[in-house]
């Protein structure tokens, strides 16, 4: 059983459906007790950092997530879920959860042909082996929709990169926390396969 964290940020049902497709039963919850006791957690999200943090604080889910992270529960962040796991977001000038050091900044593109948001399918290059990214094959692409990008302070936390004008961090991981800027639930077979690996993951990264 996985708990999908509900904090009024986007369409959780698509994550739930994708979990079901890979044989994982999921519960959508905003109850801090359920989140603290979950065997594993998916922390999704679309929308804006400011309102997301207000909602997390109001329900007490922000503390529950920090507790679960410290307790070693495997956690998968997706999109906004990834972004607010860092310390600060330029979006709404918001202080965020701080599970990992780093910040989130808006894409500023010099190339006028490129558009913001970065929307569509893009390749993901694994830069540091990670059990959850293990199934990514040459040529696999994932679906992205975002105007802000994560900048972890510690380069060792960057586990995959993608290129939009320049390279940016498209997946990060430390200890039992792993997160993708793209949407595995909307990325066809490649995305479903990533969710399957998360389900099997014990929360450890082999050295």
């Amino acid at each position: 059983m996985v708990v999908i964290v509900d904090y009024d940020a986007g369409n959780l049902k698509s994550v739930e459906r994708a979990c079901r497709e890979v044989g994982l039963s999921a519960e959508i919850s905003s109850d801090p007790k359920r989140i603290r006791s979950a065997a594993r957690i998916i922390f999704p999200g679309v929308g804006a950092a400011g309102s997301a943090m207000r909602s997390l604080a109001a329900s007490g889910v922000d503390r529950a997530l920090v507790n679960a992270f410290e307790a070693g529960t495997p956690i998968l962040g997706i999109c906004l879920g990834l972004q607010i796991s860092l310390e600060h977001s330029e979006e709404n000038d918001t202080d965020t959860l701080g599970l990992l050091p780093g910040e989130v900044r808006r894409f500023r593109l010099d190339d006028p042909v490129l558009k913001v948001p970065h929307m569509g399918w893009n390749a993901v290059r694994v830069v540091r082996p990670h059990p959850v990214l293990d199934g990514i094959q040459q040529g696999d692409e994932f679906y992205f929709v975002h105007a802000y990008r994560p900048i972890p302070a510690n380069s060792a936390d960057v586990i995959a990169e993608s290129v939009y004008e320049g390279p940016f961090c498209s997946a990060l991981g430390r200890a039992n926390y792993v997160a993708t800027q793209f949407h595995p639930e909307k990325s066809g077979r490649a995305g479903l396969s990533l969710l399957e690996r998360f389900v099997e993951w014990d929360g450890r990264i082999d050295a």
Binding site: S14, R17, E21, G120, N122, G139, A147, V163, S187, G191
Partner: protein, 259 residues
């Protein structure tokens, strides 16, 4: 870098797949859920549903169709047709659509775009524009006019101005439907698509007129579109999703080729 997207559009009327020529003469051509699954398995990048039923009974049907498709298709789903309020958009989102297309109601009341962007996020609001060629004039300097109500009602609004206004109001993407090209299979309207793509910094989806694989190539290169929308080409079995993607890939267009 981003791949160009191939998008299939399913017009749904009373629960069936329909296809129009120049926006009229619609025909029933199959089960939208089965088609959606078939295209997904064959490598489609994104799906669009347009609900062309006006009845309230039809509204329930499109929600059921979206729900059934979302159960088994794990790529972005975009839905439009008669969206006139944040409540309409929210219903479709709960049924499983990521992106909501607004069209006629936004032309009548542009504030709808901003309201939807606030409620569901800019990136999920798609401004779909039905456009026809007109003589250039002081009122219509681009030579293209916005038409609403499924192509029936010309609005005297310049298409270029409307595209820019839509972007300012918070649309995250534009669909450029050429009424003149719709269903003709003679190619997308390249000049129109390029003009709008160059005028905004949000992605542009070209729609209407595709009949041959090279029409997609033309609009993704010369037409500067970010995505090409097809309907007839794949619905009647003349071409497959994977075949079209392979053709574009072989001609040097960056496409997602692994699925």
């Amino acid at each position: 870098m981003l791949s160009k997207r191939l998008i299939a559009c399913l017009d749904v009327r009373d629960g069936h797949l329909a296809k129009s020529i120049k926006f009229v003469d619609t025909r029933n051509i199959g089960d939208p859920v089965a088609k959606a699954r078939e295209y997904y398995v064959d490598g489609l990048d994104e799906l669009v549903f347009y609900d062309i039923t006006a009845s309230s009974e039809g509204r329930r049907i499109i929600l059921d169709v979206v729900e059934a498709v979302a159960e088994q298709v794990f790529i972005p789903l975009s839905v439009g047709g008669g969206v006139a309020s944040v409540a309409d958009a929210t219903d479709l989102r709960l049924a499983g659509a990521e992106k909501i297309n607004v069209n006629s109601a936004a032309v009548r009341r542009p504030g709808l775009i901003a309201e939807c962007a606030e409620a569901i996020g800019d990136q999920n609001v798609v401004l779909s524009m039905d456009i026809r060629r007109v003589d250039r004039s002081a009122r219509m300097p681009s030579g293209y006019e916005i038409v609403i109500n499924g192509g029936r009602k010309p609005m005297g609004i310049d298409a270029l101005e409307w595209a820019k206004q839509g972007e300012r109001l918070g649309a995250g993407e534009l669909v450029v439907n050429s009424i003149d090209a719709d269903g003709t299979r003679e190619g997308y309207e390249l000049g129109l698509t390029r003009m709008l793509s160059e005028a905004v910094r949000i992605p542009v989806i070209a729609s209407g007129g595709a009949g041959e694989p090279d029409h997609l190539y033309d609009v993704l290169t010369d037409g500067k579109a970010d995505a090409a929308l097809v309907a007839s080409m794949v619905h009647y079995g003349d071409y497959t999703v994977s075949g079209l993607k392979r053709h574009l890939h072989e001609r040097g267009v960056k496409m997602r080729m692994s699925w």
